[in-house]
């Protein structure tokens, strides 16, 4: 049996009771921290808290040579990841491999940033369109700095239907965790070039350290890049589309957005 367990958002205590019990009764506990990562803990802390040794898997152990899957034929194996379980294609692929080997699989879910953002921002789930990631700029073979425009296009596409866009920020082995300020600066750079008004007079919502006691949510105009001083990682960004009154009120009262956001709504709404 192979049990995929989502650890939740921030530290070793964000796992569900069900997940915690499954870890404690497992024969072997594996973990991968390269597709996502819990900022509020370490593997050592997790081992102490769960009272189990944890075997860390590298990308190649998961994607190229998952020999360790063999153990699941005869033992109870758990596979831990940050957030909800099976968030990345890699995990789906692993589950298919296991099923092909005749191994029974099951999932124990954890809290995910993709739903936490709704509660933290007050923006409603069914008003989000497609989500997107912002990668760090790279230098092309011709030595040009390349800023990917896909995020700008996705935000524009969603805006045309009044929808919000959830924007995941890059994590790079060398450049670290992209901040909301860096992400906004990249989007404004594309706006400067394309001038399609996607980022003009727009509100942005920055969220840092979701799931921790030190969570921060800031809403302000997107060009006030310096206002989004959110502190340490992880950060995530939302570019709202059309706002309902209650959403605007949440951004003003819970995230410090400028009160002018509340104008333009009829009284009594």
């Amino acid at each position: 049996m192979l049990t995929f367990i989502g650890l939740g958002l921030f530290d070793e205590r964000d796992i569900s009771l069900k997940g915690f019990e499954a870890v404690q009764s497992a024969d072997l506990v594996y973990l991968e921290f390269y597709t996502s990562y819990l900022m509020g803990t370490t593997i050592e802390k997790m081992e102490a808290f769960y009272n189990r040794p944890i075997l860390r898997l590298m990308r190649e152990d998961v994607e190229q040579n998952p020999d360790w899957l063999e153990n699941a034929k005869t033992q109870n194996i758990v596979f831990l990841t940050g957030g909800d379980t099976m968030a990345s294609t890699t995990h789906v692929d692993l589950r298919i491999r296991a099923e092909d080997m005749g191994i029974e699989t099951r999932l124990i879910h954890g809290a995910s940033i993709t739903s936490a953002v709704f509660g933290l921002s007050g923006l409603q789930n069914y008003r989000f369109g497609k989500s997107v990631s912002i990668p760090f700029p790279y230098v092309s073979s011709r030595k040009n700095r390349v800023v990917t425009e896909t995020p700008y296009d996705t935000i524009k596409f969603n805006q045309e239907s009044g929808l919000h866009t959830l924007v995941f920020l890059d994590i790079d082995r060398e450049r670290g965790y992209m901040t909301v300020s860096e992400a906004l600066a990249l989007l404004l750079e594309i706006e400067e070039k394309r001038q399609e008004g996607v980022m003009k007079d727009r509100i942005a919502v920055g969220i840092a350290r979701a799931g921790s006691d030190d969570v921060r949510v800031i809403a302000d105009f997107a060009d006030q890049v310096n206002a989004f001083d959110l502190g340490g990682p992880l950060h995530i960004l939302i570019i709202p589309g059309r706002l309902h009154f209650i959403e605007a009120e949440a951004l003003v009262k819970l995230a410090g957005a400028p009160a002018c956001l509340l104008q333009g709504f009829s009284d009594g709404l």
Copy 2:
């Protein structure tokens, strides 16, 4: 202090360790089960398991007269809901009221069906568009049966960009929990009328009892309504857009979709 806690997907053991500790150390424990509901437990079981009395709030206690909020000025109050916390507008409104009253609020997240569906189906998060709900048909003042076409329009809109649609199914006090079969029959009824091909030769993915040991995921052609015999509630539906190979493989191998889904992909992909 008012702590909003998401209970997760199915029963009393889907709460996080952090949430469990907060419940146990709270002065008062409130719960509302009208915006969502845990199928795998009862308030009595939760009270026994958490070893705390639970005060159940009705819609009017949450939306009209939340007098109980006063208690949070001097005591530690927790407010429990199914799924992740703050999923509905009602909860956002409650949080704004509390902040207006000078009450400190915080969130402890739980697993949400909105992210669980990614892992259960193998369909990737960033390939979903706007989500939608299917309500039960109603009888108009002119005695006509009215089937809302919004879900059909949303699926069509997402399909035009190749995106998947997550479809929430109605819960009605009298008519109970809508099943995937009922939802598909309604969508096919709209297809019959509009003939825009939105549901023609389309795959659907039905999920039942997410988070339980008895979870089921079935993928088949949408017009095979009887194939989606998923058993008891809660059900949720996905109408996939364009599939990546790994998504198609997951539907075939993990959800029993017809193998013809794998045709049309180049070898080696």
